[in-house]
Symmetry: C2
């Protein structure tokens, strides 16, 4: 990329808007904080080999019927008959070590589906934010933060995280030029960072999760830097990125 | 509407996302601060009779060829051969009194086009914010703030104004329930309101307008309450809402 063109970071608030933002050279970061991308990072941290993201429950069931472990969530609830929902706690422990897992969720896997032809697709969460940002700045590429939202609507927690990513990336490279969405999110994050739980207190999805008694999940998903795992999409399948050696 | 269902305000950041947010009972507020909706309010304040929003330059030209006054803007510049661009200053003075004007703009008229079948469509700008909010709270209806954005992307100035609308509406009726987008915008506006010009200093479109030397336009468009005119869409044509008597 020529030196005259500054690197850009932008954010897209809905998978439905991705077609407006997409280009052929940006790295796309998939964000679904409550809870798909947090759970995916947890699965790789716990040794999962592959995660096959699929758009529909039927596709996930077909893979489960072939003997694969499978997770399925709709409307924040685990779908009957599946091994996992999208709680990170479902993906902790020896049972995911070495496993290939099919996964479908209300929002996160839809975001992966629309962006699958991007230059590169990685998965972001508070739990891997530093590892991911360290890797991203080394790539010298434009970055698109793709918020999964809630059924294609803007949501507060994905936006908050995109704001955190923006702030962390700019801290590492102040030369990034921010799109309007990132400018707004950067302000928002500065306001929220002292107490993100309180900031999210009125968010629609937090309300939804609270009704389902998922307070522990929320707390977990807002913890930074629990893992160095960076999930990356390769030929339609998520794997743990190989380059991350200790200290890399 | 039953008392058990709180009235809602939500915001949609792009005409391309409108299909996700639309319903049959919300009042839609069209927002294109720099500069279409500001210019439309100015035109009605100066006595324009009707504004016919059209999506394409060709449609606007066809109406001009029939003898109508016509405005056309693309990429912030007046299209050759038209009477007006989308600067509010184009719509001040005796020449618009009683006139019917065809208008096409890069973003604002696209937002009107996608939402034309809504329960009701009105036009908002800083210049009519109090009159509009006073009217809206009396309607006892859900409200959708439709930001025109820039070529279907999120932009900072429309979002800032949607945040100002949210704050003004909640001030008048604290019972409104805010969608996640409005929660974010409300925070953003609280941060920006002391100095909106500085806040917008890094916005992409402000940069674009600055290059075109439109500083006066920007200043004008950020001034609150220059008019009581509320443009409303009736059978595809914008007219000045009739109910606004002095003190109403």
């Amino acid at each position: 990329m020529s030196e005259a063109t500054p690197l850009k970071i932008d954010a897209c608030f809905s998978p439905h808007l991705y077609s407006v933002y997409k280009d052929e050279e940006s790295i796309v970061v998939i964000i679904d904080i409550f809870r798909a991308t947090s759970a995916i990072c947890t699965a790789f941290h716990n040794g999962a080999e592959k995660i096959i993201p699929v758009a529909t429950v039927e596709e996930a069931r077909a893979l489960k019927d072939k003997g694969m472990l499978a997770g399925a969530e709709r409307n924040a609830i685990k779908v009957d008959g599946f091994d996992f929902g999208n709680s990170p706690y479902d993906y902790m422990g020896g049972h995911v070590m070495g496993a290939t897992i099919a996964l479908t969720t209300t929002n996160g896997t839809q975001a992966i589906d629309v962006s699958k032809d991007a230059y590169k697709v990685v998965v972001g969460a508070f739990t891997n934010i530093s590892a991911l940002c360290n890797w991203l700045v080394k790539q010298n590429r434009n970055i698109l933060l793709l918020c999964s939202g809630w059924k294609n609507r803007f949501n507060l927690e994905d936006s908050l995280f995109a704001g955190a990513m923006t702030a962390e990336l700019v801290k590492r490279n102040p030369e990034y030029k921010l799109g309007d969405a990132c400018l707004a999110l950067d302000y928002l994050y500065q306001m929220a960072k002292e107490n993100p739980v309180r900031f999210l207190g009125r968010a629609s999805h937090k309300e939804r999760l609270h009704k389902l008694n998922l307070k522990e999940d929320i707390k977990y998903c807002l913890q930074p830097d629990l893992t160095d795992a960076i999930p990356v999409l390769e030929n339609g399948v998520l794997v743990r990125m190989k380059q991350e050696l200790p200290g890399a």
